[in-house]
């Protein structure tokens, strides 16, 4: 991993901190966050609610500026939204008046690109996530899992180098969620993207990631970075094996014996 990171860093955060004023006192949201992800690496950012994961996402998305530190994407410091990333949010956030295809093509329209040039890619992505035949459906005709897949296609339509996913399957039921995790791994192996996956589920993080970055709250800071040395392609059966359990146990230490994370 170490060599990979040096070779081709897709995203790098150096000592990123964030303070923001609130009614009572200044809030220290993030404290000295440093992390990097190399090309084709799958990094999970794990932490309990309120540890600043989603705030970190907003910084990387260029929606709010950090108080100090540097964020680089593909070696360039960011100062606003960057086209070379794709973001999948907690909820699908589809536009109810757009069909599946139109939702997938949303950012092509926003960036004033030629929609015709991306229609083929959109159909290909829709097929890849198993929504073939639903191109002209409206969002409310789809289930929650299907909507989130549309959100995934929308984030991938411009073929970004980096995909950031913010608890994308948090709203789904446990079985759909496991299924989506398996599919995401398959998609990641096929698409060769770098993924930064934000989650509060320890087992989800261990299952998916090459590396788990554990965050603790108030202020949000990195407690441990753990390489997950499990073979690909990982299966759901692996989740009951001793090495998997060992990783989960080691991470849980950070959150007390009650394991109040998930």
């Amino acid at each position: 991993m170490q060599t990979a990171r040096a070779r081709n860093e897709v995203i790098g955060l150096e000592n990123v901190s964030l303070f923001y004023p609130s009614k009572t006192a200044e809030v220290h949201a993030l404290d000295g966050i440093s992390l990097a992800a190399a090309d084709r690496e799958f990094v999970a950012l794990l932490g309990p609610s309120g540890c600043g994961k989603s705030t970190l996402l907003k910084l990387i998305a260029g929606l709010i500026p950090q108080s100090s530190g540097v964020i680089r994407i593909n070696g360039k410091r960011i100062s606003g939204p960057t086209p070379s990333i794709g973001i999948v949010f907690q909820s699908p956030l589809l536009m109810a008046w757009r069909t599946v295809l139109q939702n997938v093509l949303l950012q092509i329209e926003i960036r004033d690109l030629r929609v015709a040039n991306y229609r083929g890619a959109a159909h290909e992505l829709i097929r890849l996530v198993g929504l073939e035949g639903f191109e002209d459906a409206l969002p409310h005709q789809l289930s929650g899992g299907m909507q989130q897949r549309v959100g995934l296609c929308r984030a991938l339509i411009h073929d970004p180098d980096l995909l950031i996913m913010d608890e994308p399957f948090g709203a789904l039921d446990a079985m759909t969620r496991e299924h989506m995790n398996v599919e995401l791994q398959r998609l990641w192996m096929a698409q060769s993207k770098t993924i930064l996956f934000i989650t509060h589920s320890i087992s989800e993080a261990v299952f998916l990631a090459d590396r788990v970055v554990v965050m603790t709250p108030r202020p949000g800071r990195i407690a441990e970075v753990l390489d997950i040395d499990l073979p690909r392609e990982r299966t759901l059966d692996m989740m009951t094996t001793p090495p998997f359990g060992e990783y989960v146990r080691r991470i849980r230490v950070h959150f007390g014996t009650a394991g109040a994370m998930d």
């Binding site: 109810a96 949303l106 329209e109 409310h140 005709q141």
Partner: protein, 287 residues
Amino acid sequence: MPDLSSLDTAKNRILSILLLCLVLVIWQASPVLFKIPAFILPSAFAVAEGLWRGLTNGLYLYHGAVTLFEVLAGFALGGSLGLALGVAVALNRRFAYFIYPYIIMFQSMPKVALAPLFVLWFGLGVTSKIVTAALVAFFPMMINTISGLNSADKDRIDLIRSLGGSERQVFTMLRLPSALPFIMAGLEIAMALSLIGTVVTEFLGADAGLGMLMQSMNFMMDVAGSFSVLIILAVVGLILNQTLIMIRNRVLFWERLGRVDPGAAADTPIAEPEAPQAGNALPASQK
């Protein structure tokens, strides 16, 4: 309105028609049964007769056309101004700050109370009616436009911004479509109020229109005639409302498949004086 479609069977339809007949029979018999004089409650036949006379000699057609024109002109004027000002208020915080006190002041005032002044200022012709209708249509339209444009959720705004979208794109791709259910509901309220405003102003003083016709029939104790004009007014209101519902279903195509939308005002009965504004259970008009 609750969903009653499951009750719409052939048997229930026949029962429904029988119920109507029963009501008409009781109505027809009531002058005799309850000894109600005809100048208080005319019999059903007398009303039907008055309706037939008014329709065949073209009287109702002429006055109906005048009223309809006033309603539609006032609705178009007030509605478009309400929409424009609503957009301005929602987009410009500074503008909103300075105009809000006036909006709140006018909101709490019964707008039809200005009708006598308008008759005084603009005379007995169509102008005073159009102005009143426009004024009452203006407010629900503006309030609903503001609420609608502000209803776009923050996460979707963030989504568009994270994709490099400008404020203009946030408006056209998100805030405007999000506002459409509210705007359509606003149109329905505005239409209902325009009809009320027009008729009330015609009562006060007019040289034509259904309201003026009813008023003059009242003076001549032609109560059956008054009732028949009421029926015409109900039909006009129904047609206007149904037309808007048809337009709404087409515009809000993404809400047609059995989903509840914020503008549940669609089923509000028309012509219930002053009720729609406060009582219409619109999240919008209650701020």
